[in-house]
Each structure stands twice: as C-alpha cells, then as structure tokens.
C-alpha cells in the first residue's frame, strides 16, 4: 500500500510502485479530470500539480509521489464554486473539445502560483508542452490573463492557494 495525498485527503492505494499516477487517479480514485493523451509525457493532457509544480502524471510513477501533495482539477473548485482558473476558462469559452483543457488549467494554475502576473510570452512558454488540436490557443491565453486578474480580486484571493 502506498500513501498519497490527493486534493487534501490521504489515500492508501493498492497499486504497483511503477503504476503511473494518472492510472491511480482515474482508476483507483475515480478522479477523471486528468486525461490520457499520449502516454509519453509529450502532450500535457495528464498534467496535475504535485507539491506546487505541474507534473505529467502519465510518466510519473506512484513511487515518486509517495507522501507528496497531489492536486487535480477536482481539487481546485466545484461546478457550484469554480476556482478562478476554471471561471476564467469558462468566461473566455477557452475550451472546444476540452480534452486538453484540464491539463492546460493545471499548468496555468502552477504558473500563477509562482508568478501572479505572467506576461503573454511567459504564458506561451509555460504552456508550450501542451498540445491542442482544436485551436483555442488565443482564448486560452486570454483565460490565463483573466485568471490572474480574478486571483487578484479580494473575493478570490484566498483561492490562489490550492488544497
């Protein structure tokens, strides 16, 4: 059994140490926001946050995250109370098919946690590992800027931290 903290809760997981974190999240914990894209760490769809940093969960074995804090999109907000990053993506209508968006949001969240006012160029560079075939890139850029502004407002300020 391996202990992982996901979205603020401790979980004892019965899986081999080489099981990708993505499979643990989806299959064992029923957290389906992180997506399987390429399985090679090349598309970004599986991105989650581990100890504050964006991590490609499909190439991260359970062994490496033992005892660490994992945050998935489900840990940021809910349908009733979306987090700033989620609100921003909705308000900018930044998803088309949406498959890549959970990963995009997680890396953008990690960026905003260490750099509350990223430039356009910094957002582009940060999200470069993420592939989107629909083509909502410009909306995604706007959404990240919007999330930065939302996080700066008083009511949302507490949501910069993650659970």
């Amino acid at each position: 059994m391996t202990m992982v903290k996901v979205n603020g809760r401790d979980h004892q997981v019965d899986a081999d140490p080489d099981t990708p974190l993505l499979y643990v999240l989806r299959d064992d914990l029923a957290l389906n926001a992180a997506k399987f894209g390429c399985g090679l760490g090349q598309c970004g769809a599986c991105t989650v946050i581990v100890d504050g940093k964006a991590v490609l969960s499909c190439v991260t074995p359970l062994l490496l995250v033992e005892g660490k804090q994992v945050t998935t999109l489900e840990g940021l907000g809910t349908v009733a109370a979306p987090a700033p990053i989620q609100r921003a993506f909705m308000e900018e209508q930044a998803a088309q098919c949406g498959y890549c968006i959970a990963g995009m949001m997680m890396r953008a969240q990690a960026l905003l946690m260490r750099n509350p006012k990223p430039s356009d160029a910094q957002i582009r560079a940060e999200l470069e590992p993420h592939l989107c075939r629909c083509g909502t890139h410009m909306r995604i850029l706007r959404a990240v800027h919007r999330a930065a502004r939302l996080m700066d407002t008083v009511d949302a300020a507490s949501d910069r931290s993650i659970r």
Binding site: P17, D18, L40, G41, Q42, V50, K53, A54, V55, L56, V59, T60, P61, L62, L63, L64, V65, A121, Q122, R124, A125, E128
Partner: protein, 447 residues
C-alpha cells in the same frame, strides 16, 4: 647624480620606451573606416547560399542569438571563468551590428580577432579556430550575414574585472595562443578526410567545447579533444580517452550528426543538440567529411576502456539492485518502461549500458537529462524524453544516479553527487525563469 647612476637611469628609460613601443606594436591595430551598409542585392545569391551553409557549420546562431531574440542580434551572456561576455550583434545594422563593416574588416576579425574599430576581440569568439577558415569562405559568410535582416540591438556591456577589461592585454594572449595554419593535411588520407580536417579545426570549432582549457582560457594543445566544459554540461572526450562504451565509427558519427541520435550511443542534447540542429541544413558531404576526420583522429579506445566496452555489449545484469534498493526501485518504476521497452530510438530510450553520460566520470550530463528531459523539435523526427525535475526530489535523484552508475556504468560511484544535483537543479530552474517566448523550432531549450 653620479655618472653611473645616470647611465642606469638612461638604460632603464630606454628599456621602458622600447618596451612600450613593442607593446604598442603588438597590441595596436588600425581602425578600418566604416562603409554604408551594402545593399543585399549587391551580393551573388550563390555565395550567400554558401555562406548560409557555412554559418550553420560554424554554429554562429547559437552564440549570437538569445532565446526568443532576433537571429544574429547577439546579447547572449557567455559565462567564462574570467567573467561574463556578451555576444555581439552580427546583423548588418550600421550602428549596433556589422552593417558598417567592409569585407576586409570581417575577414580580419575572423583571421585575427580584431573589430572594425581596431579593438581586440575576446577569444570567446573562437578566432583561434576561425583563423583557419579560407578567405573565400570568410567572404561567403560575410555575404550571408550582410543579407540578413538588420536588427538594432546593443548587447549589454561585458562583466569583466580589471585588468581583464583592458583589451590590449588580449594581444598578449594572441601572441601565446593564436596560431594560423594548424589544420592537419595529408594527401594520402583523401579529399574527404582533408575537408573534414579543415572544417573541424576551423569553422566548426569542435575543440572549443571538446578540448579542455588552461588557466588562461586557451585550449590545451597536448590534450586536444580530451573533453571540456560548456555551460553546465561536459563536452565528451572525442580522442582515444572517450568514455563511449562502444567505439565511434565514421558511419555512426555521420548518422549521429545527421539525425541527432545513434542506437549505439544515444541522443545529442544540451549544446550539442543545437549543433546537430544547425547541421541539419548542411550538405551530406560536409557532415560526412567531419565524421570521417573525427572518427579517424579519435583512434582506438584507451586500453583500460576496451574490456569495458566489450563487457557492456553483453551484460545487463543487475547486482547493483541489492546495494541500492531505493535507486533500483526508482529506475524500475520510472525509467525502465522506455529504456528497456521495445520502442526504437529516437522515441524509445537508449539501452543505458551504452550511455556515455553514465560511463563518464562527470555526472552533470546525466543529471541534466533526468531533470530537464529532451524537448521535441517541431517538424523533425527527434528524440524525446520527459523531464522529471518537478516530480523527483534531490535524494531520489542521488539514489537513481548512484544506481545507474553502478549498474550500467560499472564504475566507482560519482563523488559529490549532492552538490552536482543541486547545481543541475539550479540550472534547470534558472532556465525556467529566463525563458521567454518559444523561438524558432531549431533552437532547443538551453537547460
């Protein structure tokens, strides 16, 4: 004042004046008058095209372009043991670039490291190699650069402490280390070999990274291609002291330089990835010439390496697992699925028993690659590996490195790994902070 004193004073004065005159003669170079930037259509397109290939062989853009910046506009900080030197703007901008340089000034800079204004240039600009470039090739390079887009950009001032910021001193360095005509030639070895010698020792300046440097920053002539340092990477030895588990051949080297990877050796990364990226546009014949020459002068592996190379190709046993359970578990869970999978290079991982990074006495390359990975290059069939900086902690990295070294390197443990891991992580983190907009696809991230 007695007569004897007067004589001594006179002699001292004469010596001082003569010394000053000699130093002036050695250090002084005339200024060459500026010209109006020549119009691009005054250059022969065929010569410009030749210059483009030569610029790729010379890897000019790697130092003269910052990530995200305009091509050839300079400003890249080059850290040296003496301070930081910023690369110059070599676009044809009249004010901040080389737009006002007549061809003779450009040739003089390549030949002897002197700017148009007569100032000595720091040998960070590898004129100790470029002095071997033919005048015809210098002219083609000039034609290529003078037909680029002019960019108005002044590089930051160099950060050098006194007296190194006093440029006439460079003349002394040149007296010691600038030698023209160093290119070996041997009619018996054929045209390909001789072409390779010309490129390797001249424009391609392979030794600038792969040869260790002395206390004054010059390449050590008695240790040519014995391995050097660049950024936080080790540039492997290319001579008979190479740690490559399997000996390089001309064919292997050609494939590696052409495609960026070889199944017996793995992939080019770090600064070498940029070299290979540039070579992509160079004609096959020149890449092959480089490979033929390099493979020939690398010779047979040093005696103590030979048995190891033979053993590596047979053995993949894992005694190391018992000694280092933590490292073995990390390897099995994280690395093995690709490095022991069945996908071929460049998408699968190389058999780590073949890895020079793990056999080498310097752990930096292996640590850089674990933390930063290898980014995909747009439009190319290029090697890929995810970086693990965000998911592997320092202690885990040390355990993994020790395991890889023991199991695949079959050599004594690396010393001071904790510090090497911290350094590699600092470089990786700095690259995240420093990076700006993604640039053209050929410029890979500089970890």
């Amino acid at each position: 004042m007695t007569g004897r004193r007067r004589i001594i004073t006179g002699i001292v004065a004469i010596v001082l004046v003569a010394g000053a005159a000699a130093a002036f003669a050695v250090a002084w170079r005339p200024r060459i008058a500026a010209i109006a930037p020549p119009r691009p259509d005054t250059f022969d397109p065929d010569i410009v095209k030749r210059g483009r290939d030569l610029a790729a062989i010379g890897n000019c853009n790697t130092c003269h372009t910052v990530q995200g910046g305009a091509n050839y506009a300079g400003g890249l900080p080059v850290p040296t043991p003496f301070g930081t030197i910023f690369s110059s703007n070599i676009t044809p901008d009249a004010e901040t670039g080389i737009g006002g340089w007549p061809e003779e000034a450009f040739v003089r800079a390549m030949r002897s490291g002197v700017g148009r204004d007569g100032r000595h240039l720091y040998p960070t600009f590898p004129y100790d190699h470029f002095t071997n470039v033919s005048e015809a090739d210098d002219r083609a390079l000039y034609a290529f650069l003078m037909t680029r887009q002019p960019v108005h950009a002044l590089p930051p001032a160099n950060q050098l402490a006194f007296p190194l910021n006093y440029r006439p001193l460079i003349a002394g360095w040149k007296l010691l280390y600038l030698r023209a005509g160093d290119v070996p030639s041997d009619a018996a070895k054929g045209a390909e070999w001789n072409r390779g010698a010309y490129l390797v020792e001249g424009l391609a300046h392979c030794g600038a990274c792969h040869t260790p440097r002395n206390a004054l920053g010059a390449e050590r002539v008695n240790a040519q291609f014995a391995g050097g340092d660049v950024d936080n990477w080790h540039a492997y030895a290319l001579n008979d002291s190479s740690y490559a588990p399997v000996r390089w051949t001309a064919d292997a080297l050609y494939a590696y330089l052409r495609h960026g990877w070889h199944s017996d050796h793995g992939t080019a990364r770090g600064p070498m990835a940029e070299v290979v990226g540039n070579l992509a546009s160079v004609p096959d014949t020149d890449v092959r010439a480089i490979a033929v020459y390099m493979a020939d002068i690398s010779g047979a592996p040093a005696p103590d390496r030979k048995p190891l190379a033979d053993a590596v190709t047979q053995s993949t046993s894992a005694d190391a697992a018992q000694a280092n359970a933590a490292g073995a578990a990390i390897y099995a869970a994280t690395c093995a699925s690709c490095h022991e999978g069945n996908r071929a290079l460049p998408y699968g991982g190389v058999n780590l028993a073949l890895s020079t990074a793990i056999a080498s006495p310097d752990p930096r390359n292996m640590l850089n690659i674990v933390l930063s990975g290898i980014g995909a290059v747009a439009g190319e069939r290029s090697p890929i590996m995810p970086g693990f900086a965000a998911s592997i902690d320092d202690a885990q990295t040390v355990a993994l490195a020790n395991y890889l070294r023991a199991r695949f390197g079959k050599r004594p443990a690396w010393s001071d790994l904790d510090k090497a891991v911290r350094d590699a992580r600092a470089v990786q983190a700095a690259s995240l902070v420093a990076r700006d907009a993604p640039t053209d696809s050929r410029q890979r991230g500089k970890p």
